[in-house]
Amino acid sequence: MQETENESAATVSTKPLFEGADWNFDLVKKAYDACEEIGVGELELDIYPNVIEVITSEQMLDAYASIGLPRMYRHWSFGKHFVRDELHYRKGARALAYELVINSDPCINYIMEENSMTMHTLVLAHAAMGHNHFFKNNYLFQEWTRADAILDYLDFAKSYIARCEEQHGANAVEQVLDAAHALMQQGISRYPGANRTVSLARERERARERHLYEEQSFNDLWRTVPQMRQDNGEDGEADKPAPSSNSSQLRLPEENVLYFLEKTAPKLADWEREVLRIVRNLATYFYPQRQTKVMNEGCATWTHFHILNRLYDKGLLTEGSMLEFLHSHSSVTMQPAWNDPRYSGMNPYALGFAMMRDIERMTTEPTSEDKDWFPDIAGNGDPVGTLKRVWAEFRDDSFILQFLSPRVIREFRLFGIHDESQRPHVFVSKIHNERGYRQVRQTLSEQYCVSTIDPDLQVVEADLQGSRRLVVAHNVRNGVLLDRANCERTLYHLARLWGYRVKLIELDNETGKVLKEHENLRMP
């Protein structure tokens, strides 16, 4: 960030886009066009068409509460988050984000009415250009999400859940949703090829077929047949005379617990399976976002920084606006130290922006260190092209592993800690020196790797004939067990969906030894 700006570049005598803080639709349009001229015209960003929606703070809180998605279905937990955020906001304990952007085609950008014109310009550059480009080009988003389908799918999900509430009662739906939310992180098929992307037409068709089949095959006589018959008949797989080792038929082990339940749980009604599917699809939709926080914010922050500086150079921003922007920019990209009371983890804006700027610097003014560490990009003279390649092909962990330079490590004064839970002290294991750079980089990268931060759970056994017990295994790394209270509560939800007993075993991933067992007998 110490780099000097080429601010002295020819100041053309153009009139600024706006003066003062007030905004109106014409000004926003003008500012957007100016941003687009730089973003698309000069940087050649590849973006979805933008829709800019002006909202009030209350609507922003709303959007917050429903995990950033408009048209979300109804659930009490969103209400809970709303009342909490609202209280914090009213008391001034927390400011609202300036922007909210949705990975969709067209890309929806929210701007809040009480912000100043400078902030709107910042948001347009940040979200409508930066995030938008990232959504459209990053491989994870391309692979995992369908930007053109998500809004329609949300509409479908919302109305489907509303219909379920009408038919089966709000309480019944709530129970299924609670359970599904608890298992949301286990609703993702992580391995490539296995992911099932969302297509609205297909989904709708499937839901309709399911319903139709139900109606056609409805025969009141079944009601009079003894209950056992129904238990077996409901699931196709259960009919087969399978031995207790039916794991291969059920394609176990299965890491996508929600998927497994949707397909296999014996007692679920069809609509409940559909609800699980909806939650699973949403989890999949959010999966790339969780893996690209640093990159996504880094990309957007770098983009807004570049665009606003260019606007200023072109004489389109007043000095006052520029100062307002720099003030807000530097508070967003501030990284408190670990012992600072404000510290709450690594700031993805700060780290992402610093790394993007660093890459930009390396391509144009490489030091000998850069040449040693990054021979492919140091001095290649194409900052924007390099960045765009990075944005497209990496996610947080691989990005850090590849591009965290000694310079940024020094700048952030990163150091590694080793923590053994048995000991009263933690130990500094590496610092920013020659021996430490690679280790710090490795550890930080792992810190951003979702497959190491999320517990690794798999359905390993499901007995559909005898005890009907479901067994889930937790693959324990480094002896880190599941939080017991949470685990038992979640297990209760799992058991509710499965309908029978559920057992969770925690296995050490090296020795295979059973470290702990949890069991849930289904509550009445």
Binding site: I52, E53, W76, R84, Q335, S344, F415, V428
Partner: protein, 428 residues
């Protein structure tokens, strides 16, 4: 690019979520509201509340890793002077420092948020019902209200509906092809031009004249506004249940009523007042205090004024009857009464009181509640003149109830008990 203004969208999109949330946390909210009544000042009970609930039923569990087991490596920013091998003592458990610690907030089980006034009162008075509502409806049919009832062809000018009238007029004029004023003017112009021409084309002028005469005649025949067009707003008198109530607060203010006892009584009165306000558009409150004489006073004097003297309850009842007769005819008003006393009365006065209640007052009232305030030191069920006397009213008068209150915390349960839907007259 497209800019959409969403600010005008219907507000409170999250209302559905909020209601689901409130339903979910109902048990905890109820408890919190109950606590609020115990501890808060009576005067702010009417406002919205910030309630703090434990989020037991609001947990959203997930499988998460236990930060107190196993070993881990992580990276922190902002090293100042540490080198490899330095030891840092761990923060005490619960202190959210470091990467893993801060994820688990410590205050997770306490959840503070604000209820609106309506929501607060909803919870507060949930399941409570006004007794004897049926009677109210039967009784109050006497008052009526004017409501709109379509249109009439007749009526006073002040009720003329201009839009409807003009619409009819326009339709009729079009149907009967009445020439417009503009057309007439144009014709007159043409005629004038034709007449001014030299030489005058007699045939043309004559044709125009005739047409002009026809137009004028037609305009005369088809009036601009015909009595047929007139429409008037019509109103009807609709019988309307009375939505006004009067609440009588009767209190013994003799020396034996200490400040504490008065405060107990006050809390009860306030609850009753709030409760009535939820059911009636207009609630008036009449304060009658008594020693051995009774008088109607304002609220301030009622709760703070000091009096000395003996206690004769019947004086208050007489005063109440006088006020009813003077200002609140029972046909128009729903009458509620709450009487608070420490239970002392001249014993020969009780006969008169009971007689008055029996013969007239209970018949006029929707509900009459007697609250006996006392302290716990008096033992669980001290007998008192008033309590013993009133007890004989219980059986045959379903709209009479009596309860004992010894502590502020009792007020709300007692109140709920009085108005809960399955009111069974249980004493004690």
């Amino acid at each position: 690019m497209q800019i959409v203004d969403r600010r005008r969208n219907p507000k409170s999109k999250s209302l559905g979520n909020r209601q689901r949330f409130l339903r979910r946390a109902k048990a905890e909210i109820k408890e919190a509201v109950r606590d609020a009544v115990k501890t808060r000042k009576v005067s702010d009970i009417d406002a919205g509340e910030e309630v703090k609930i434990s989020s037991k039923s609001l947990r959203e569990p997930t499988f998460s890793l236990d930060s107190k087991s196993g070993s881990r490596d992580f990276v922190l920013p902002g090293n100042t002077d540490m080198v490899v091998g330095d030891a840092i003592p761990k923060p005490p458990p619960g202190g959210g420092r470091g990467n893993k610690g801060s994820k688990e907030g410590t205050g997770e089980d306490d959840f503070v948020f604000a209820l609106t006034r309506e929501e607060f009162l909803d919870v507060f008075f949930e399941d409570l019902k006004l007794p004897n509502l049926v009677k109210t409806k039967l009784k109050s049919v006497k008052s009526t209200e004017l409501t709109r009832a379509g249109y009439a062809t007749d009526g006073p000018p002040s009720k003329l509906n201009q839009v409807r009238t003009m619409r009819n007029s326009l339709a009729r004029r079009i149907a009967l092809s009445r020439p417009s004023l503009a057309y007439l003017e144009k014709l007159e112009e043409e005629l004038a031009e034709a007449e001014a021409e030299t030489p005058v084309d007699e045939a043309k002028v004559e044709a125009l004249r005739q047409r002009h005469a026809r137009v004028v005649a037609l305009r005369k025949r088809v009036a601009y506004l015909d009595p047929l067009d007139l429409k008037f707003n019509r109103h009807e008198r609709v019988p309307k249940p009375s939505t006004q109530a009067v609440m009588f607060c009767l209190m013994d203010v003799s020396a034996s009523m200490t400040e504490r006892l008065k405060d107990l009584a006050k809390r009860f009165f306030i609850l009753l007042n709030m409760f009535l306000r939820r059911h009636y558009k207009e609630v008036q409150v009449v304060f009658i205090r008594h020693t051995n004489v009774a008088q109607e006073v304002d609220e301030e004097t009622f709760f703070t004024g000091r009096e000395t003297g003996g206690t004769v309850i019947s004086t208050a009842l007489i005063e109440m009857q006088r006020v009813i007769q003077e200002r609140y005819p029972e046909s128009d008003w729903n009458i509620y009464a709450a009487q608070a006393s420490d239970g002392h009365n001249f014993s020969d006065d009780m006969v008169e009181c009971i007689d008055m209640l029996q013969t007239s007052i209970l018949g006029q009232c929707q509900y009459f509640a007697y609250i006996e305030v006392g302290s716990i030191d008096d033992g669980p069920y001290p007998s008192s003149e008033v309590w013993d006397g009133y007890e004989q009213l219980l059986g045959e008068n379903p709209n009479f109830a009596m309860r004992r209150v010894a502590e502020p915390g009792d007020i709300y349960p007692v109140f709920r008990n009085l108005f809960s839907e399955e009111t069974k007259a249980k004493t004690g």
